[in-house]
Amino acid sequence: MLARFFRYSLTSVLIFSGGASQSGAQSLPVAPGYGELNYTLPEAGSYQLPPLGTAADGEVLDTSGHTQRLHQQFGSQYVLLAFIYSTCSDVNGCPLTAHVFYKIKSEMKRDKILARRLKLISLSFDPLVDTPEMLQLYGNNFRYAGNAGEWQFLTTSSEKTLDPILRAYNQQVQRELKDDGSNSAGYSHVLRIFLIDPDKRIRNIYSADFLHHDLLLADVRTLLKQEDQTDTWNRSGSQPLQVSRLSNPGDDKRGYEQTSYRTRSLALELRQGKEADLIRFGTEPPLGLPAIPTPLDNPLSREKIALGRKLFYDRRLSLNDTFSCAMCHIPDQGFTSNELATAVGIEGRSVRRNTPTIYNSAYATLLFHDGREDSLEQQAWGPLLASNEMGNPSIGYVLNKIRQIQEYQGLFEAAFDGKDASMMTLGMALASYQRTLVSGSSAFDRWYYGNDPNALSPGAQRGFRVFAGKGGCVACHTIEKRYALFTDNRLHNTGMGYRSSMGIHPEKEKIIIAPGVFIEVDRAVIDQVGEKPPADVGRYEVTQSPHDRWKYKTPSLRNIVLTAPYMHDGSLGSLKEVIDFYDAGGVPNDLLDPRIRPLNLSEQEKVDLVLFMGSLTGSNVDTLVADAFAAPVGDIGKGDPTWVSGTDVEVK
């Protein structure tokens, strides 16, 4: 698969534009789509096509001139969507599309499943010339061809309805001016064809130099083969679009290993907040989770949760008023940081471990990777005081500051029976908010505990059997009769920590330098310039017992697809890598947990395991994330104790 894209990256995208007269010069080669492929395609189904984004909707006209929604035309089929214009004279442009679509249509005549599941759509970007009547004349080519293999021609009523569609598909079309500057002598555009799945997600984008019917057919067949897997699987294992729409790294790098990658950075203003009744999650935990253990002296209350929520998003809780808890435990990134292996704190200071998720930390009896804390009430002071996290010099400093901030006046008193902000109440408030971030009722829960046989895809069901059987994962990531925490709340040596302590690394490392472009870098080169991994011996640092070397806490696997990268040092980027790690038997060392051993999993079993883990995403994730978006971000302002008056210029 990668090899495939690598090949394309070598040939540049052909840009079909006018401009300099080329008629005398040597002509462009004819696109490969007209001939036979000169390389062997990987077998359909042997590779992945992770979603590249959502295929936009828009208003279009069919050949009868009726207004339709583009999505409506997609129906529930796989769609190959091409942007064309009928008066195109560039052989490697629209005629190439026609040629390739014709080949595919011919295949659809032979293959009944393909005919039923796939649809070809040519959408014109020249509404002035390509009227519905005009496109009907094109459609007539297939009037006699029977129903097998639908090829539909669409246009729009005007440039006004067309332009948003072009923008959404990133189709840049330049209307060329005539020499005298008057409008529309023609168009220049970059040929792009989109493969869209029934969930309206773009799965591949083809440009002229790799538009070939064999490739397109292999891709469609790959998606058909992997149908029950596609919902949850993707290469980086970070995102089941089905379950959580809102969980996403800020700069979504999925598909970056392909040349077709395009930036999908999310604009801040797209974050729509919606407050949730959080206490409900605390008092009525979702399916598959037990009642929340709360300390006797800190029962949940709306006031405490609201106060804790306010504190969690307040940047003034750090020494220089810049860093909140939520900046490492990022709500829309699974309450962790998808983009960092190990955390980065105040002023860019390195933290040696990966940020764990806060989801379901209500149930944790051991906190931190080495289990050095046992209550959320206590735990908060760790990051508040760590010089490389929030950097506060003392507990008193934090409390004094909060007491002086106007917005907090009366809040602690109201939540804690008249008690002021103190080491205890601040911890209690933060703990209360975090306790409500429980997330269950996942597809797995509905299947296993809710007895809904259809809740879990067949692939995920197979994965469950590997998880509970051959893989032996349940030994540590536990599943009980009535609930499943997917952690035994204990510490184990998997060899993960041993590996980095001993500097065990592959000789060469594959590094992506641009979308779809990799280089292999020698270990020696990396060691020369790279930061040495921080010393970390795990549980030993807490107990000083030699047997506890490289033991780390078993993390819960709930919402696991949302919380990449994995392990205490974030060194595994995808669930696939985690499975490969376990399959190889971890990293052997004297203290390796005996349950970690080579598993001899088949490729299918590995995929199924990932599918199973993809089914553990809670149904309330988006509710919790939207609630986080609605939370006030505490920012320094006038009147705050650390406000610098110099920024206020008085004008007389």
Binding site: C88, S89, V91, V129, Y138, N141, S188
Partner: protein
């Protein structure tokens, strides 16, 4: 399809637009027109009523694509030999494509092909009718090539434009559609 030599006349996707869009939007496509054939005779499209017409545009100096297209069309015409079918080639380069030049050309490719030319104004009217945009591109040495799309227009026996076959579809497809058109409107 023999496309190893690419169409120099078609590399560019831009051309001079000969009619304004608003005119196109009102005027119906297709319909009768009059030009001059390769024998210097006046020719009217209506003369061909009762036959299925395969109409396409090009110019004889066209180095690559037009010959490819013509070869394909020849194959189609040969396959349909003996049936009520007529191939018609309209030049977009009337300055150079005189009736004599066209005669050589059609004789060479397929004697059953009618080649048409006319005054620049006449040609403009016909290309506008069929929404054919083309433009002159100078080439070094003082000559020029014509940039134009290579669609094939199928006109049914009643003289109505029935189907536009985009360039890129194989001759078998054209034969298939023409056979169906022949079966209609008997």
């Amino acid at each position: 399809m023999a496309l190893s030599r690419s169409g120099r006349c078609l590399i560019l996707s831009s051309w001079l637009c000969l009619g304004s869009h608003s005119i196109w939007a009102v005027e119906a496509m297709s319909g009768n027109f009059a030009l001059t054939d390769q024998d210097g005779q006046r020719f009217q499209l209506d003369q061909l009523k009762g036959k299925v017409v395969l109409l396409f545009f090009g110019y004889t100096f066209c180095p690559d694509i037009c010959p490819t297209e013509l070869t394909n069309l020849s194959r189609v015409l040969d396959t349909l030999d003996g049936e009520s079918v007529q191939g018609v080639f309209v030049t977009v380069d009337p300055d150079r494509d005189t009736p004599e030049v066209l005669k050589d050309y059609t004789d060479y490719f397929n004697r059953r092909l009618i080649g048409l030319t006319g005054s620049p104004a006449q040609i403009d009217r016909v290309t506008q009718k069929y929404r054919v945009k083309f433009r002159k591109l100078p080439v070094p040495g003082g000559s020029y090539s014509m940039n134009h799309p290579s669609n094939l227009y199928l006109i049914d026996r009643t003289g109505k434009l029935s189907t536009i076959v985009p360039y890129g579809l194989p001759p078998e497809h054209v034969v298939d559609v023409v056979r169906h058109l022949l079966a209609e409107n008997l």
